[in-house]
């Protein structure tokens, strides 16, 4: 057999490469992982990610050299089933969950992953954000079924962690092509203001300040307060807000903000956080599109893996992460997207430029699912 493999330098976009390698069955070699740094090699969270990948796959081969600067990954088949994983608290569960969201529909058996660690931190997309934006996005692609959900059992803030999330996802044989070209107007804004190990009043203060900004646009705003106590509250104190704007056409734009982890940086006031988060949502609305900026790559992947039909998605400006993801998609699936910039009309007040992404799916079918 002709060997096919891809090779990359550096540990940036580590998850993309491994996820795409797993889906495409191509082996991948990542070299020069922090080779110039004082502390070379893979970090703990990356190792933890690899371990998670190992848990959901069957027959994959991972080789890491002594210093951890070179990684070779030969993917196996995605197995799924019931998986428990203690995620490294250096990154939040969102880091792991983003990859699982991409893999979960293509497993042999439906996935039930219990992830433990940091549920909310300021760097990665939090679990709440993925729950409110990524899940409805995936439903647009025909991934739906019983128990397709992310459930936050325990909330654990950075840096201590101690949270727990249960992610369940059914499997699909193929993905529907989508035409998400018209986002529609935003009809309602929902959100979750959470607080753990701090005064429950914090959440209310966040809600009030966020509403004060958003009420200029829309009356239909409801922000839930979620205060977790006792065993469900994790190890560190903190609070935060996730906002989701739902449009008439069923697109979801989300924004979020978390308090700075305990002992790192300046503490933030809940009022400031609420206001800033609302502004972030406005920024997201300004960017626009049918998919919010943190889920762009997920949408593009599902388009790529669709049947051999044309899919279209309107996005806001492409994030650097998405741009790299597009390059990786070309490497792994030989798919290029037609990228068209849609400029807003003169008198339109709908935010900035939009990007219309069009592609022809590769006709991917879930080879892991067995037939009886």
């Amino acid at each position: 057999m002709a060997s096919q493999g891809l090779s990359y330098d550096g540990c940036n976009f580590f998850r993309q490469r491994l996820v795409l390698a797993t889906l495409s069955g191509k082996r991948v070699k990542i070299k020069g992982v922090r080779s110039r740094e004082d502390n070379p090699g893979l970090r703990d969270f990356e190792a933890s990610f690899i371990r998670l990948l190992d848990k959901v796959t069957n027959g994959s081969r991972i080789e890491i050299n002594q210093t951890g600067t070179v990684l070779f990954y030969q993917p196996g088949l995605l197995y799924g089933g019931s998986v428990e994983h203690d995620c490294n608290p250096q990154r939040s569960i969102g880091y792991y969950l983003e990859a699982l969201l991409m893999l979960a529909p293509f497993m042999k058996t439906s996935l039930k992953a219990t992830l433990r660690g940091v549920t909310n931190d300021p760097t990665d997309p939090t679990v709440d954000l993925l729950k409110s934006a990524a899940i409805p996005l995936m439903k647009q692609f025909g991934i739906d079924g019983e128990g397709f959900d992310i459930k936050v059992v325990k909330r654990g803030m950075a840096p201590g962690g101690g949270g727990e999330v249960v992610f369940k996802c059914p499997v699909r044989r193929s993905i529907k092509p989508v035409q998400l070209t018209e986002p529609g107007k935003i009809k309602r804004i929902r959100g979750v203001a959470y607080s753990v190990r701090v005064s429950p009043q914090m959440a209310n203060r966040i809600v009030d300040s966020a509403r004060s900004v958003l009420n200029q646009f829309l009356p239909d705003i409801y922000i839930y307060t979620d205060h977790m106590k006792g065993a469900n509250s994790g190890k560190s104190p903190g609070f935060g807000l996730t906002l989701v704007a739902e449009t008439l056409n069923g697109c979801f734009l989300s924004a979020e903000m978390s308090s700075t982890p305990q002992g790192q940086g300046d503490p933030v006031l809940p009022e400031d956080l609420g206001r800033n988060c609302a502004k972030l949502l406005l920024e997201e609305v300004h960017r626009g599109g049918c998919v919010d900026s943190s889920n762009q790559s997920l949408a593009l992947l599902l388009m790529t893996l669709g049947q051999q039909d044309v899919s279209k998605v309107l996005l806001g400006p492409l994030s650097p992460y998405t741009i790299e993801f597009l390059r990786h998609i070309r490497d792994f699936f030989q798919i290029m997207f037609k990228i068209e910039v849609q400029k807003p009309l003169e008198d339109e007040r709908k935010g900035g430029d939009k990007v219309l992404m069009t592609c022809l799916g590769v006709g991917y079918s879930n080879i892991n699912k067995s037939i009886k």
Binding site: G25, G32, P125, G288, D309, I323, E348, C359, I367
Partner: protein, 1179 residues
């Protein structure tokens, strides 16, 4: 009669009266059906509910049976030619039929049918004919790519095995259209037998294909050809045929190769005839989109990575769309490069002229140089250059040797080569990595020259033609080396002069560039175009950035060499990318994909052992390589969301904002009013006019007065548009309402698919092919050229155009090898059952390969038990190590592909279920041990295990004896090793055998051996043999198993059995009752004399007395017996009498009792009645 014709009375139509009125009324009413229903409602009433339900049911059944799962129609607008495979046993007339069909369609005659023949058969039809020979490899490959199968059957002989084998292959790999053709019908002399045979064959064919499958009859031959009319009819049938999409074909790209060129450097072949070849394969792309650099499988060769794909102009194009009925002669094209039709074929960078090979070859053969010197010169495998390169000179002894490569690097630009094998003239463009100065070039050119001259000297004896060609070529090379600079070199120099960068542009990215490239594409080839658009890019860049890069000029001048130029380009590009990002509208396509293209340039330079392509991120991005991996997109800091204008910029994103014209609720309401504003209240008779319309009219009037006529025209236009819009809306609404009643899920789904298909067609329609190919890959219908680089040399040297080359694209995961689970059934016509671990050749997906299957079956508890042999008439599971193929793909298995046996060759068929080693196959393993010490129910058992550890693993396991006593392993014993203590439910005997039933997991052997039948020498291509089965090996090597000596037959000698006497202990004997006590049954010996009783001898008198007494007693006995019987009889009679009397007595008593009861009852009644009476009286 009398000849007089009696006149009939004419019909008089009534014009008045009741009859006329009736008729008039009938005419007026028109629809008679409704009338009937009204007039006779009973006749149309429901007679039987069940019957009605039944009819309804049936109607629904029929309706639903017509439904198929709707699929998106992905057939391209310009479909590839239809592949028609002509199959049949040898000597049935396949080639004749193809020849006749080709003649029918194109009026051309073709000699040998060699490889696929493509023809234009109609305005929208193209056909590709392929002949399938009797080799099962060919049959399998062609069944996978066929759209239509013409199955030739020799009617004079009947069906042959090949026919059924092919049908079976088709069944497994998706069922293409099959049309039977009966030939040799002229051999029947008797018309009746002919009819009978036809009928028999037809019915058998129907059972195999489907009821009513088309079977065509070719009645006879005329001058070695089939009858024109019949062939014409067959052609018509073919061209109107519709095809259903097959799952495998529509999900994979594939090419039926109709042309093959060897692109390997001839020099390399000369030095090493067995070197790996670079080959370009040509053919129409079918199935689905093919991605560049994808993986393909060449059936019969193996898996390869495509190094490059290009699309070429269609060699057999469909005529331009004009309104006419038939094709003219020019448009009836025929394309069959393998059959040698058309001497000139075009490639993207070369033209091949085919000369009649046999003629040239022979002459060369004759004038072969005989002198040894020349012979040796010819035999040199290395050129003078190479030898020069290999020789090393050391200036001083002990110093390092000098290579010619140290001094100068070879660089050639163009080379024209005579390939004696293929008899073709070719021009080859060669590039070396680094460009050298002129002097070096001259040197190398002269050396080239020398080499060529030497070659010329050798070839002096060759025939005129070749020498002529040689000379021409020599001139050209001289020109290259000398004054006239070659074109390509010039281009390079030009570029150097400009000081620009060489940028390989994947596709034009901005619109102006698109224009540029389209302009230039007409004049130049694509390679030139890419470079030229690069030029224009450069120019633009140099203009814009001249000021910015003043400092960089120094560096630019210092960097002369070509190799370093890309780095400079990078810098430029990085800065440019940055500038673009700053701009309001960045060219995203360039940003995303453009820069990555440059990295590909590097990739080509760095390749690690052919295993991995090194993709180096850009230097400017080097710092990002190890950056934090996070999907968060940080917000633009320039946006200040406290400002009102910023807030206003997104107002319309919310439902509270302004809506578009077509969606605004107010406008929609207004429109509705326009549509439905007017209505008449039927009760009151009042007519409501809509006010808006009136208002509009008024407004219009006002406007008209005040404004000019030009505006009026505009207004009219607007009005017209409005009306049209109105109409459209009304129609839409009506459609929606009308369809809703009948709309089903199925209809919705169909509509959705239809929409998707339209979108698929429309999306990339207006993009030019070069760009389109980048987005969606090469689409089916294109004529493509695939370059595949390391192909085994046997593919070229043993190439036989009679064997089809099928090139199938592989999906994303299908290049890997892994474990497969499948469901398999031995074919019912295959005579033998299949044995586990016997190698089997499978045809799965595109591939044919040999593997070792393990058969298994699922027990009731879900255990997968290994089977030694496949079951006779049942499905079983099979596990193999093979190529990953999507589940649900069918496969077939044969035991060997070599030769044609008389028997049915297809051993098994089945389907892939799972692609994982998820099933553990186990086989039963019985461990046997022997008790060596027996306590009550406890035993020490040895011989089952050999160490304590093994026992420890099996502690608690249940064991059993042959006699059925169950037990459990308790604990290991220290000595002997492997012995253990076990408890049983009963006491064991020393003669008992204890066994432990366990299940041992079996691993699937990892054999994956692709059938490389195409690499075999010509004439032996059907003799591929892989790994032999154990049985074959033993047969071939003459090894016989030593039989188990216990199984051998021996003369039976049965020893006499001795039974020991029963021994009963004394104690027991005493306790036994006498009956059961053992008797002293020893035979009485002779009684001793003293114990013998003396015999009595009577006196005569005594004898007399005895006799008398005897007589008397006899008499007495007789009398007594007689009396006794008499008495007995008497007593019997008495008993009978008594019985009778008794019965009579009973009867009497019963009657008396009856009487008594009746009286008593009457009395009771009387009493009751009297008491009732008395009571009433009392009241």
């Amino acid at each position: 009669m009398d000849g007089k014709v009696k006149k009939q009375k004419q019909h008089q139509q009534k014009h008045s009266g009741p009859k006329a009125e009736k008729k008039k009324a009938k005419k007026q009413r028109g629809s008679a059906e409704e009338d009937e229903r009204k007039r006779n409602p009973k006749a149309f009433a429901v007679q039987s509910a069940t019957r009605m339900a039944k009819t309804f049911h049936r109607a629904q059944d029929i309706k639903t049976r017509k439904h198929h799962i709707p699929l998106v129609d992905r057939t391209p607008l310009k479909p590839p030619p239809i592949v028609i495979v002509v199959v049949g046993p040898p000597k049935v007339g396949k080639s004749t039929l193809i020849r006749c069909l080709i003649k029918n369609f194109t009026r051309q005659k073709l000699g040998d049918i060699c490889g696929p023949v493509t023809i234009v058969s109609g305005k929208k039809h193209r056909l590709t004919f392929v002949e399938c020979n009797n080799d099962i490899n060919t049959m399998i490959d062609l069944a996978k790519v066929a759209d239509l199968v013409l199955m030739l059957i020799d009617a004079s002989f009947g069906f042959e095995m090949e026919t059924f084998e092919f049908l079976n292959i088709c069944q497994v790999h998706g069922f293409p259209r099959i049309m039977g053709v009966l030939t040799h019908l002229d051999s029947f002399k008797n018309n009746k037998t002919l009819r009978k045979t036809k009928k028999n064959l037809k019915h058998r064919f129907w059972t195999e294909v489907y009821q009513g499958a088309k079977l065509f009859y070719l009645s006879g031959m005329v001058y070695g050809e089939y009858q024109t009319q019949e062939v014409k009819n067959l052609g018509r049938f073919i061209s109107v045929m519709k095809f259903r999409p097959l799952v495998w074909q529509t999900s994979h790209p594939y090419v039926l190769v109709d042309r093959m060129e060897d692109l390997t450097d001839p020099d390399k072949i000369r030095t090493d005839p067995k070197c790996d070849r670079t080959v370009s394969l040509y053919g129409y792309l079918r199935g689905t989109h093919l991605k560049n650099k994808g993986q393909v499988h060449i059936a019969g060769v193996g898996d390869f990575q495509v190094s490059d794909v290009n699309f070429l102009p269609d060699p057999c194009p469909l005529p331009d769309a004009q309104k006419k009925r038939a094709l003219n002669e020019k448009e009836r094209l025929l394309y069959a490069p393998m059959a040698g039709v058309g001497g000139v074929v075009y490639d993207k960078d070369a033209v091949y002229i085919d000369l009649p090979a046999s003629h040239v070859n022979q002459q060369q053969e004759e004038v072969r140089p005989t002198t040894e010197l020349v012979q040796s010169l010819i035999d040199t495998h290395a050129t003078l250059d190479a030898k020069m390169a290999a020789s090393k000179v050391s200036l001083f002894s002990g110093s390092a040797t000098l290579d010619p490569t140290d001094i100068s690097e070879q660089s050639r630009y163009e080379k024209s080569v005579w390939d004696p094998k293929t008899q073709r003239e070719r021009r080859k463009v060669l590039f070396t990595e680094e460009e050298e100065d002129e002097e070096d070039e001259d040197a190398s050119g002269s050396s080239d020259d020398e080499a060529d001259e030497s070659v010329e000297e050798e070839d002096q004896n060759e025939d005129d033609l070749s020498t002529f060609l040689k000379e021409a070529r020599l001139e050209s090379t001289k020109a290259t080396a000398g004054g006239g600079p070659p074109v390509k070199k010039q281009k390079l120099e030009e570029k150097e002069g400009e000081g620009g960068e060489t940028e390989e542009l994947a596709f034009a990215d901005s619109e102006d560039e698109l224009e540029n490239s389209s302009e230039e594409s007409e004049s130049e080839g694509e390679a030139g175009r890419a470079r030229d658009s690069g030029h224009s890019d450069d120019m633009a860049k140099s203009e814009s950035e001249e000021e910015a890069e003043q400092g960089m000029c120094m560096i630019r001048f210092s960097l002369n060499s070509w190799a370093l130029r890309w780095k400079e380009g990078l810098q430029q590009k990085a800065s440019e990318a940055f500038l673009r990002q700053q701009e309001a509208a960045p060219n995203l396509r360039k940003l995303v994909y453009g820069s990555a293209d440059d990295s590909e340039e590097e990739e080509e330079e760095e390749e690690l052992g052919g295993l991995f392509r090194v993709s180096r991120p850009q230097k400017s991005k080097k710092f990002q390589a190890n950056a934090r991996d996070c999907s968060r997109f940080n917000p633009d800091s320039s946006h200040n969301w406290d400002l009102e204008e910023m807030l206003n910029s997104i107002r319309d994103c919310f439902v509270t904002g302004k809506w578009e014209e077509g969606q605004d609720a107010a406008t929609l309401l207004k429109e509705d009013e326009e549509l439905y504003g007017d209505f008449e209240d039927l009760e009151t008779g009042e007519i409501h006019k809509d006010q808006t319309g009136q208002q509009d009219e008024n407004d219009e009037d006002d406007g008209d007065e005040g404004e000019e006529s030009l505006v009026k025209v505009d207004d009219e236009e607007v009005q017209k548009n409005k009306r049209l819009e109105k109409k459209r809306r009304l129609k839409e609404r009506f459609d929606a309402e009308y369809d809703d009643g009948d709309a089903t899920y199925f209809d919705d789904l169909k509509e959705e698919m239809q929409k998707q298909a339209e979108l698929n067609r429309a999306e990339f329609e207006d993009v030019d092919d070069e760009t389109r190919v980048q987005y969606e890959g090469f689409r089916p219908g294109m004529y493509v050229r695939l370059e595949i680089s390391p192909l085994p040399c046997e593919f070229v040297t043993n190439f036989d155009p009679h064997y089809p080359v099928v090139l199938g694209g592989l999906g994303s995961n299908e290049g890997n090898v892994g474990y497969l689970q499948m469901r398999l059934k031995k074919h019912r016509w295959y005579e033998r059952i299949l044995k586990t671990r016997d190698p089997l050749i499978l045809s799965l997906g595109w591939r044919r390969f040999q593997t070792i299957p393990l058969y298994h079956i699922e027990d009731h508890n879900g255990r997968h038990r290994l089977l030694k042999y496949t079951p006779q008439h049942m499905h079983c599971g099979a596990s193999i190590w093979g190529p990953i193929t999507p589940q649900g793909t069918g496969f077939l298995a044969v035991q060997s592909v070599a030769g044609t046996k008389v028997n049915f060759r297809i051993a098994a068929t089945g389907v892939i279920l799972d692609l994982d080693k998820s099933v553990t196959i186990v086989k039963k393993l019985k461990l046997i041990g022997y008790p060596y010490k027996i306590f009550k129910n406890t035993c020490f058992i040895k011989g089952m295990f050999s160490t304590v550890l093994e026992v420890a693993k099996f502690e608690g396991a249940s064991v059993r004896t042959v006699s059925g006593i169950r037990g459990q392993i308790k604990k290991a014993l220290s000595t002997p090793p492997g012995a253990y203590r076990a408890t049983f439910e009963d006491r064991l005997l020393m003669s008992d055998i204890v066994f432990l039933r366990s299940w041992y997991p079996v691993s699937v052997p990892q054999l994956y051996n692709p059938v490389t039948s195409l690499l075999l020498p010509v004439g032996q291509k059907d003799s591929w043999s892989g790994m032999r089965t154990l049985g074959q090996l033993k047969h071939d090597l003459g090894i016989r198993n030593k039989p188990n000596t216990d199984s051998l037959y021996k003369p039976i000698s049965r020893a006499q059995r001795h039974f020991n006497p029963l021994h009963i202990p004394n104690e027991l004997q005493k306790a036994l009752p006498f009956k059961s006590k053992p008797k002293q049954q020893q035979r009485k010996g002779k009684t001793p004399k003293d114990l013998q009783r003396p015999s009595v001898i009577r006196e005569p008198h005594e004898r007399k007395v005895m006799a008398l007494l005897h007589a008397l007693s006899t008499v007495k006995n007789y009398k007594r017996n007689k009396a006794h019987t008499l008495q007995h009889a008497k007593h019997k009679g008495f008993l009978q009498q008594k019985k009778k009397e008794e019965e009579a007595k009973l009867k009497r008593q019963k009657e008396a009792q009856k009487k008594l009861y009746r009286v008593m009852g009457q009395l009771d009644k009387k009493k009751q009645r009297s008491s009732l009476k008395g009571a009433s009286q009392d009241d």
